[in-house]
């Protein structure tokens, strides 16, 4: 800024008085000299106008409303509590807290806080939902209806009675099964005793054949049914009878003149066929 002098005021003096002039505290002779310098100085005149305009712009700015949560956040970050007043209000507004609610609060906020924090995660909730869904589907498939559970009595005496009743049923079932097995064992023993007597009529098969996979003695049903498909490809050997049949004799007599008369017996003809006998 050039240090000009007009009507007894220099530019540096003008700049020092600029704030006072804008604030309106400059008066008297000082104000006259200030205004005179502003009118003639090409540097200080625009400076005064710009400073006044800038001040007016800034004065036009309104105060910003802070967020509603600011106060609470500050108190929480400094003292760790929201506000005394809020706590008093909560105390007055809250109804009487039962002992069970206090126990729950102490458990969930104190001892079980880490576990409770995990449970409250969406991932755990999703897993729990899937498990519940799978359980409900399983119960539905198994035929268990929730309506049946209503009839279940949860009185101690009823539970005890149900326990003994179930135990008695299990014992009876076991006894019955044991009787059946004993009868079966006796019958098997009788069969085994009778087996040597039958061996005279029907010779026992060699031990090697008993181990044969094709032994169907233990499979009577399969033994009764002839499975022709298994012998379908077997060769069937057919042979003519030893004695000549009449037709054969006739033919042999008819052809005797043509054939070799020296052969008195008919030749044995073997025929193989793949025809299936039904």
């Amino acid at each position: 800024m050039p240090d000009q002098t007009s009507k007894g005021m220099q530019c540096n003096e003008f700049e020092l008085l600029l704030s006072d002039a804008i604030d309106g505290v400059l008066s008297g002779n000082g104000l006259d000299r200030f205004q005179a310098h502003a009118q003639v100085c090409r540097t200080c005149g625009p400076l005064l106008a710009e400073a006044e305009a800038g001040r007016n712009w800034l004065k036009g700015l309104t105060e910003v409303e802070p967020p509603a949560s600011l106060l609470t956040n500050i108190l929480v970050s400094t003292t760790g509590v929201d506000t005394q007043r809020l706590r008093v209000n909560e105390r007055t507004l809250q109804p009487r807290i039962s002992w069970w609610e206090r126990v729950q609060a102490s458990l969930f906020d104190g001892l079980l806080a880490p576990v409770w924090g995990i449970i409250r995660q969406p991932r755990f909730a999703m897993s729990f939902g899937m498990a519940f869904f799978a359980l409900s589907v399983g119960l539905t498939v198994a035929g268990v209806k929730p309506a049946d559970l209503r009839e279940v009595s949860l009185r101690p005496k009823a539970i005890q009675q149900a326990y003994f009743h179930t135990q008695a049923r299990v014992v009876h079932y076991y006894e019955n099964i044991r009787v059946v097995y004993e009868v079966q064992a006796r019958l098997r023993e009788v069969k085994r005793n009778l087996a040597p007597a039958e061996s005279g009529v029907k010779p026992a098969r060699p031990a090697k054949q008993k181990d044969d996979k094709n032994d169907t003695t233990q499979q009577p049903e399969q033994n009764q049914e002839r499975n022709y498909s298994q012998i379908e490809n077997d060769l069937i050997l057919a042979s003519a009878p030893v004695g000549p049949s009449p037709s054969v004799i006739d033919a042999s007599n008819h052809d005797a003149s043509n054939r070799d008369a020296s052969s008195p017996d008919l030749p044995v003809v073997s025929v193989t066929t793949d025809r299936r006998f039904v």
Partner: protein, 199 residues
């Protein structure tokens, strides 16, 4: 602005552990500090974080306040200003006075300030126009250098006198006046060029 004795009593109660006294201090000064932070930082989120930091620092250093050395509001403003300067240095938002046609952000596609400002005559609603003018001035304020910006904020927005500002900024009163004048003039030049281009 404040009754020295009342504030001194409040501070003593607060140091003694009276949370109600601290709550009263927070309620009294949070709005003022938030506005300083908002005008200096430029965004509401930053202002909220900075305001919280100011009160945390104030809560820790409250025993160091001596009411005989100055007003409590000056002490609070000094803490705020120091924290804002630290924040500015950390974030390296060196917003020296730029040309009005330079983009506000580093992005090459970002529009310059003159293009961000809507045409005031196109809005018939005076309230909307006033709000837009306020946003324009706020944006222009953010383009001032930090020294000029803090001086005009404390003077024209917080109505502090030159002596208090000099105490807060730790500079002589003459320097304070000079910065205020330069800041106002620079702001006017920025806005003048803006509206000249828009009109």
């Amino acid at each position: 602005m404040e009754d020295v004795q009342v504030v001194a009593m409040l501070v003593r109660r607060c140091i003694a552990g009276d949370s109600a006294a601290w709550e009263e201090i927070v309620q009294t000064y949070s709005r003022r500090i938030y506005n300083i932070c908002y005008r200096f930082a430029g965004s509401g989120d930053d202002a909220q974080d900075l305001t919280q930091e100011v009160f945390i620092k104030m809560y820790r250093t409250l025993p160091s306040y001596d009411h005989t050395k100055g007003a409590f509001v000056t002490w609070v403003t000094t803490i705020t200003r120091n924290l804002l300067v630290d924040h500015f240095r950390k974030s390296k938002q060196d917003r020296m006075t730029d040309s009005i046609d330079t983009a506000a952000s580093d992005h090459e596609d970002a529009q310059p300030l003159s293009e961000q400002i809507p045409d005031p005559s196109a809005r018939p609603d005076a309230h909307v126009r006033s709000r837009e003018v306020g946003e324009t001035v706020h944006a222009a304020l953010g383009r001032l250098s930090p020294e000029l910006r803090e001086a005009v904020i404390l003077r024209d927005l917080q109505d502090m006198d030159y002596r208090e500002i000099a105490t807060v900024l730790k500079v002589p009163e003459g320097t304070v006046k000079s910065r205020i004048n330069r800041g106002r003039a620079e702001l006017a030049r920025l806005l003048q060029r803006t509206y000249r281009q828009v009109m």
